[in-house]
């Protein structure tokens, strides 16, 4: 990868002096950014640094307060996305914008349907999407319902959609946050191919491993300003982290914990479920998590990890097996009762299950406290002064970047939304915490911080089950790892005695037993 750049005259795209404010918040300030033809340019920065905002300005979703955009040397002004689409700019959003109940063909052509206006010409649409689909190697029936597909495929549909509209500048906002390592590798092959064909790609990610694997150049944003732009070959992760955070001491390695592992807190025995959405059914899964221990669950997406989390918290019913919490059987209990008994849960789908996306930050933080209030007190005020003060204090303590507890959750950056979820769940002081993809889209500094809080919880005796598609996360945090494959536990190992490669093999279903390894 990253061959030296031939600076063929002027850049394809040039953003200069971009400033964008939302009321009191300055999301972008005097940002400069340029893009060469055929280049993959990574944009990195902490949560709330303004990456998404900058890209939305470029895509015409926001109007900048100041600054200019040049495409091919021509100064342009984008008032709406269709303006930028006309200039060959396409964006795959951090949160997908597909309509789950539409077919693949409908989603791809949505807003730019072939044929006469107002009528959906199915034949013409199927024909028109064939070329971009084959360019990406997507092999799908055009009438597949989008909501039934897994995330990686949905993402490919988003990219197809962008290509269908003739984009030569493709913006990918945290595309890998939802992908497994294998899917990420596939995506990178695809991006490289697109770049070699002459497309330019802007790539946003919090994972430096990926940035260094795929990008030709890296631009760092901090607090809405451009800090540096450098060729990947001329810099290293340490420098980039320092530029992103302004700190030199961010821990990127294993998290230090001093927790004594004691009694079994969570015990699952032979639990099975029916097939749920596009995840595999659980098939006789057994394991234990002890107090003070972190057990990681690794696996390629769709092998039952999501269902496992939901079965443990009680939103998916079991067909067989039992779950015990602190010696008490909770198999038949509902979510509320399980939570009351000390179970906490960070769901993997933040927008759907983690926070009330249209509600306020305080409404997101307080669910745990308001859920259990009983009887006549429920008629009382939900957010009296004490509650609001508590909310402000949590915002402070977890450094959630927001104008206040009254702000709508949807206006927070992705990482800050996640902090709401983790703050709420840790504040419940659980005896057992189930974390499903807890740091998806969260920046390095914040991950460091959140891991610290999780480590503190285990020091208090909390048992943690960590379900993650990010092997680095599992290797950094957990004491033991279980690998799930087709709804079963395929392998188990102490973290100190295994490696990325070995786990990767188990995840692909390789029949290597512990003794043989």
């Amino acid at each position: 990868m990253s061959e030296p750049l031939t600076n063929a005259g002027r850049p394809l795209l040039k953003l200069a002096g971009i400033t964008k404010t939302f009321g009191p918040i300055t999301a972008n300030e005097d940002v400069t950014f340029d893009l060469e033809p055929g280049e993959i340019h990574a944009l990195v920065g902490e949560n709330g640094a303004g990456k998404t905002t900058l890209m939305r300005v470029l895509y015409g979703m926001y109007q900048p307060d100041a600054g200019t955009i040049h495409v091919d040397g021509e100064q342009v002004e984008f008032r709406k996305p269709s303006d930028s689409i006309r200039y060959g700019i396409g964006m795959v959003h951090q949160h997908f914008m597909l309509v789950p109940t539409f077919t693949v063909a409908e989603n791809i052509t949505l807003g730019a349907e072939p044929g006469r206006a107002g009528l959906f010409d199915r034949k013409a649409a199927d024909e028109a999407i064939r070329k971009p689909m084959s360019r990406l190697g997507v092999d799908l029936a055009p009438n597949t319902i989008t909501g039934t597909l897994n995330v990686a495929t949905q993402q490919k549909i988003e990219i197809t959609k962008v290509l269908y509209r003739g984009a030569r500048i493709i913006i990918l906002d945290e595309p890998t946050a939802v992908l497994t390592p294998q899917e990420t590798d596939e995506l990178f092959v695809l991006l490289r191919k697109l770049a070699d064909d002459g497309s330019s790609i802007i790539f946003i990610s919090h994972k430096l491993r990926e940035v260094f694997a795929v990008a030709d150049r890296i631009t760092v944003l901090r607090d809405g300003r451009t800090v540096s732009t450098s060729a990947t070959a001329a810099t290293d992760p340490k420098q980039v982290v320092a530029a992103m955070t302004g700190r030199g001491d961010v821990n990127l390695g294993r998290v230090h914990r001093d927790a004594a592992v004691a009694d079994v807190v969570l015990r699952a025995e032979g639990i099975s479920t029916a097939k749920h959405r596009h995840d595999a059914a659980l098939d006789g899964v057994s394991f234990t998590v002890r107090s003070g221990e972190i057990v990681g669950i690794a696996g390629v997406e769709g092998n039952g990890q999501s269902v496992l989390a939901e079965a443990l918290i009680g939103t998916v019913p079991l067909t067989a097996g039992t779950v015990n919490l602190g010696g008490r059987e909770i198999t038949g209990l509902g979510v509320a009762d399980r939570r009351t008994l000390g179970l906490s849960y960070v769901p993997e789908d933040r927008h759907l299950e983690g926070i009330p996306i249209n509600g306020s930050v305080l409404e997101g933080l307080s669910a745990g406290r308001l859920r259990s209030r009983r009887s006549w007190r429920s008629w009382g005020r939900a957010f009296p002064k004490a509650m609001r003060a508590w909310g402000s204090e949590l915002i402070e303590r977890y450094s959630i970047k927001t104008p206040g507890y009254d702000a709508r959750c949807s206006t927070l950056s992705g990482g800050n939304q996640q902090k709401i979820v983790i703050a709420r769940e840790l504040e419940e002081n659980p005896s057992c915490l189930i974390l499903a993809q807890p740091t998806r889209g969260v920046d390095l500094g914040a991950i460091d911080f959140l891991y610290g809080r999780i480590a503190e919880a285990t020091a208090r005796g909390c048992a943690v089950l960590l379900i993650s598609a990010d092997l680095d996360e599992i290797l950094r945090l957990s004491d033991r790892v279980l690998v799930m494959y087709r709804g079963r536990v395929a392998a188990e190992a102490r973290t100190s005695e295994t490696s990325r490669e070995q786990l990767g093999m188990h995840m692909m279903g390789a029949k290597v037993t512990e003794t043989a390894a």
Partner: protein, 372 residues
């Protein structure tokens, strides 16, 4: 970053722009409402002009008739009282994601229940009798709406369809009762027996129709607002409506909240029926609701299910209706034309509130594109 695909129209899309905060949004919303009203007024001027009347004096007469002096204000309010209660009721259900468009039927059920309680019980101490009538109405409405809410929560029977259909069933059943077994034999048309005097609210301003029920209505509106916007219960209901998956994962009782909000909604709509009987009509008759339930649904939609906005829109609506009656009295502009004009204003307001996007979401819910 997350696997959600929330951007598409879905049931939560109905109240997507909830939680609007900050002065900015409020002022835009006010400006937009003002704009709608001014356009409506301009259209009214045109309409009256076309009928060959002096538009401004005619309009002024209409407004005078609606809110010109204390008596007319009282009359206008008295007409709107059931609508206030019903609209708050509908808004509460909308807020928790339950589309209770069965308000009209619940009003009929409430009116029937209170008419029976008023006619066949008593006479007795008037406070107790009124309380009985109102409780009977609330129970009828709550039972009806709660049952449909339960069907939705437990069996997934879509409440849009079930409440819609319930209107026809309930209204026809009440009509059967009023023309058949419970008909007042001394009357020719389909009415029940007149309630005894102890089951009627006393007028507090003579010859305005404004009765003591106004205090009850104010209390119910305040209660509805508190319940839905301020209380812990309301928090659970709103979360259930806006983010059901979040509510579920957080351990909020989603089914319970759905049923409870429908019970509250139905109770309020039922009481609106009781207000019709005990404060003005004095009996049940087959056309007693006269579309108030539908008005309530419309107004709650325009008010985006926010109690305060809904109450403001009820007030605007009542004033417009009264002004239309006033215009009719001083000119030959027939009230049908005025009603068309009011409808046009409402449609404009609805468009501004994004109500049509909400209907698109409804459509989407029923007419999915075929695929596999």
């Amino acid at each position: 970053m997350s696997t959600s695909t929330t951007a598409g129209p879905g049931r939560r899309g109905i109240l997507r722009r909830s939680g609007a905060r900050g002065p900015g949004r409020a002022t835009t919303r006010l400006a937009s409402a003002g704009f709608t009203l001014i356009v409506g007024l301009a259209m009214a001027v045109l309409l009256i002009q076309m009928q060959g009347f002096e538009p401004f004096s005619t309009l002024a007469a209409g407004v005078q008739y609606a809110v010109g002096d204390p008596t007319s204000i009282a009359r206008t309010i008295a007409w709107g009282l059931p609508l206030y209660v019903a609209a708050i009721g509908v808004a509460i259900a909308f807020r928790s994601g339950m589309f209770n468009i069965g308000a009209e039927g619940q009003i009929y059920a409430g009116a029937m229940a209170s008419a029976l309680a008023g006619a066949y019980l008593g006479p007795m101490f008037t406070g107790a009798h009124l309380a009985l009538c109102i409780l009977a109405a609330a129970a009828a409405g709550a039972g009806l709406a709660g049952a449909l809410g339960w069907l939705r929560a437990a069996w997934g029977v879509d409440e849009v369809l079930s409440t819609l259909l319930s209107n026809y069933i309930v209204i026809l059943f009440c009509a059967y009762l009023a023309t058949g077994p419970l008909r007042d034999p001394s009357r020719q048309s389909g009415t029940t027996r007149e309630v005894v005097d102890t089951a009627r609210f006393a007028e507090i301003l003579p010859r305005t129709g404004l009765t003591g029920v106004v205090f009850l209505v104010v209390a119910l509106c305040a209660l509805g607002w508190w319940l839905s916007e301020k209380s812990v219960i309301g928090y659970r209901w709103r979360m259930t409506g806006e983010s059901p998956a979040f509510a579920d994962a957080a351990g909020i009782d989603v089914k319970g909240s759905r049923i409870a909000s429908m019970v509250a909604s139905g109770a309020l709509c039922g009481i609106a029926g009781a207000v019709l009987v005990t404060a003005s009509q004095g009996r049940f008759w087959t056309e007693i609701g006269s579309g108030i339930g539908w008005d309530a649904v419309l107004v709650a939609l325009i008010g985006r299910a926010r109690p305060v906005a809904t109450l403001v829109w009820v007030t605007i609506y009542c004033v417009m209706r009264a002004a239309a009656r006033g215009v009719e009295q001083v000119s030959t502009v027939p009230s049908e034309l005025s009603l068309i004009l009011i409808s046009a204003i409402i449609i404009a307001a609805a468009a501004r509130a994004g109500v049509f996007g909400q209907f698109a979401a409804f459509r989407h819910r029923f007419l999915r594109t075929k695929g596999r």
